[in-house]
């Protein structure tokens, strides 16, 4: 049972390399084969959840070499929560891929898309549990390459340009990550996060400059990759021009994993005391506050629906950073809840928007008038995501915003409660008009059910159901997020 988390990574990597071979033999079956593998991944992460719930969290040492010699993979509650999120969203997006891909990539490139998909999923799963700075670096790079390729696979120069921008800025980020790692290695002589964490309190007295620069490099480097405002400039281009399933994966999962790595570095390597000694939480809170407003304001100005969703991601990522930088347990719990909830909401919105584009070809928001008469189910699902983003009670977005607000109160900074409320109103300004126009605008045609392929409508509706379910019964998820927050800030 303890081997399951690493088996998921190995299985995905093996699948990534086996798929092109399979594509040569039986082209049609690659999509369904991928579905089986992703289902197996989800089952394994569920089994890990039950195992951890019964036996407690554990560390896994590949090849039974404990640190400082070997690598450590930490299977704690954060890992469990992230593995569930990654594999659940990944599986649903994969369902959507099967029908949608033929309209997004060159004919014959579908198999390569699945290969990239599994490379990305393997790296995300590994990043969630990596407890060693160099392992983090390696999987960060795999993740960056796969994510850029998932954007550039669309045969349009616009996508390639967006992917190039993404790659250049991401490489800056990984360069900083590696430089920070080397600075920490220089003073502690370890790469394992736990061992570095034990030695840092002594090391900071001797070499304060090294450690401060390393912390700065980590936060800026990973901040670029996770699109922390004002380092988000690559995100709107890359996320809006990518094929729809890639947009859902990039916005829903990829940026979140880098936030998790930042969280691990802040709370498990540096520790909250050290983190609070330096005024870095204040800086992150400042960036996050500006980002929440700037992201929402820029989203209001957009005319393209996918671009609007991408700018909305900039704002939502800042909520998660805010939750972490509040350094209160409820704040971190809210941030981690928002990781899951935003992954569900944003992939739901991207997939629904993709379904509009698939059926009608409409990308402009103003042309979506009366779309609720032509595609009622898709539009209903989109509305669930939109209302959840605004934070209407009964949808999962409300729960995470509420928890974040409690976290702000626990950290004795009620200012951020005001920030959350105002930004919710701003969210309403750009999400609600789409819903209102879609359902109450002049219908261009007679009412008809959305005639979409089952594999496109099913994941959209499933995500909407998950969203409502965790909006009405948030108990189990909140408990999971609380346990995860306790690993970071006991």
């Amino acid at each position: 049972m303890t081997h399951l988390p690493i088996i998921v990574v190995a299985l995905y990597l093996a699948t990534a390399f086996a798929l092109p071979l399979l594509g040569r033999v039986k082209k049609l079956h690659t999509g369904y084969f991928s579905l089986c593998i992703a289902t197996a991944g989800l089952v394994m992460s569920l089994l890990t959840l039950f195992y951890v719930a019964r036996e407690g969290t554990f560390s896994y040492f590949p090849g039974d070499w404990p640190p400082p010699v070997g690598i450590e993979l930490s299977v704690d509650w954060v890992t469990v929560l992230m593995h569930l999120t990654i594999n659940l969203i990944g599986l649903l997006v994969l369902f959507y891929c099967i029908e949608d891909l033929s309209s997004e990539v060159r004919p014959g490139h579908e198999t390569w898309y699945y290969t990239l998909f599994f490379l990305l999923m393997a790296s995300l799963n590994a990043l969630a549990m990596a407890f060693d700075m160099f392992t983090v670096f390696v999987f960060t790079e795999i993740c960056t390459l796969a994510a850029c390729a998932l954007v550039a696979i669309k045969p349009k120069a616009l996508c390639v340009e967006a992917a190039f921008k993404y790659l250049i800025l991401s490489t800056l980020g990984s360069g900083m990550l590696l430089l920070g790692t080397s600075l920490v290695y220089m003073v502690t002589g370890h790469l394992n996060m736990g061992l570095i964490g034990q030695l840092l309190p002594q090391a900071i007295d001797l070499y304060p400059l090294n450690i401060l620069i390393a912390l700065g490099l980590f936060i800026i480097g990973l901040g670029i990759k996770s699109a922390l405002f004002p380092l988000h400039t690559w995100l709107p281009d890359a996320h809006s021009s990518a094929p729809t399933p890639s947009s859902a994966l990039l916005s829903g999962l990829v940026v979140k994993l880098f936030i998790i790595v930042v969280g691990r570095i802040i709370f498990q390597v540096f520790g909250s005391e050290l983190f609070l000694m330096i005024p870095i939480p204040e800086v992150i809170l400042l960036f996050a506050t500006f980002g929440i407003f700037a992201g929402s304001l820029m989203a209001i100005a957009q005319t393209d629906i996918k671009r609007m969703l991408a700018y909305s991601s900039v704002a939502q990522v800042c909520y998660i950073y805010m939750g972490m930088a509040l350094v209160s347990q409820t704040g971190i719990q809210g941030g981690l809840l928002h990781v899951f909830n935003h992954a569900v909401m944003k992939s739901l919105l991207f997939l629904a928007a993709g379904a509009f584009i698939y059926k009608t070809g409409i990308r402009k928001i103003e042309d979506l008038v009366g779309i609720g008469y032509r595609m009622p189910l898709t539009m209903a699902a989109f509305s669930v995501g939109a209302l959840s983003m605004v934070g209407i009670p009964g949808f999962s977005g409300f729960i995470s915003k509420l928890t974040l607000a409690f976290g702000a109160l626990e950290a004795e900074s009620p200012f951020f409660v005001v920030v959350i409320i105002i930004s919710s109103l701003l969210n309403a300004v750009y999400y609600l008009p789409i819903v209102l126009r879609g359902f109450f605008g002049r219908p261009a045609t007679e009412f008809q059910w959305d005639k979409l392929p089952l594999l496109i409508i099913a994941p959209v509706l499933a995500l909407a159901v998950i969203n409502i379910f965790f909006g009405i019964f948030p108990g189990s998820l909140q408990e999971l997020a609380r346990l995860a927050a306790e690993t970071w800030l006991p």
Binding site: V138, L178, L179
Partner: protein
């Protein structure tokens, strides 16, 4: 006064490798962000990554020590871990370079230029 200057200078000279690595890092960083030529951006990316590799390897250097091959006559070994890690780093850097060059080829085929400013102008004209 004069003595402190000499101390600083001698510290700089004895830590030449760190200084060089940092300078290279900044040169690469600057090239990546400011040059509009896409190939120069990739060159900058390589300079930056190589500088980090230089920095990482120089951490493991021990003065008057030999290569880490077991030998009874040798007293001290160089730390082999940074070199081993950087091997992985080099592989990663090569794949990043190959991928970004492939993307430049695709952009050049479509736009006929590798200047990012011109590409941006052409893109706006297309829209």
């Amino acid at each position: 006064m004069f003595e402190t200057l000499i101390n600083i200078l001698s510290a700089l000279v004895s830590n030449m490798h760190y200084l060089t690595a940092m300078l290279l890092f900044l040169i690469g960083f600057h090239t990546m962000l400011t040059h509009s030529n896409l190939i120069k951006k990739i060159i900058g990316m390589n300079i930056m990554e190589t500088s980090v590799f230089l920095f990482f390897i120089s951490i493991g250097y021990v003065h008057n020590a030999s290569a880490p091959i077991l030998d009874d006559r040798v007293a001290a070994y160089v730390n082999p871990l940074p070199s081993a890690l950087i091997l992985t780093g080099i592989v990663v850097a090569v794949s990043l370079t190959a991928f970004s060059l492939a993307m430049v080829v695709m952009l050049y085929k479509h736009y006929g230029t590798i200047c990012s400013d011109q590409i941006m102008r052409l893109r706006e004209e297309e829209q």
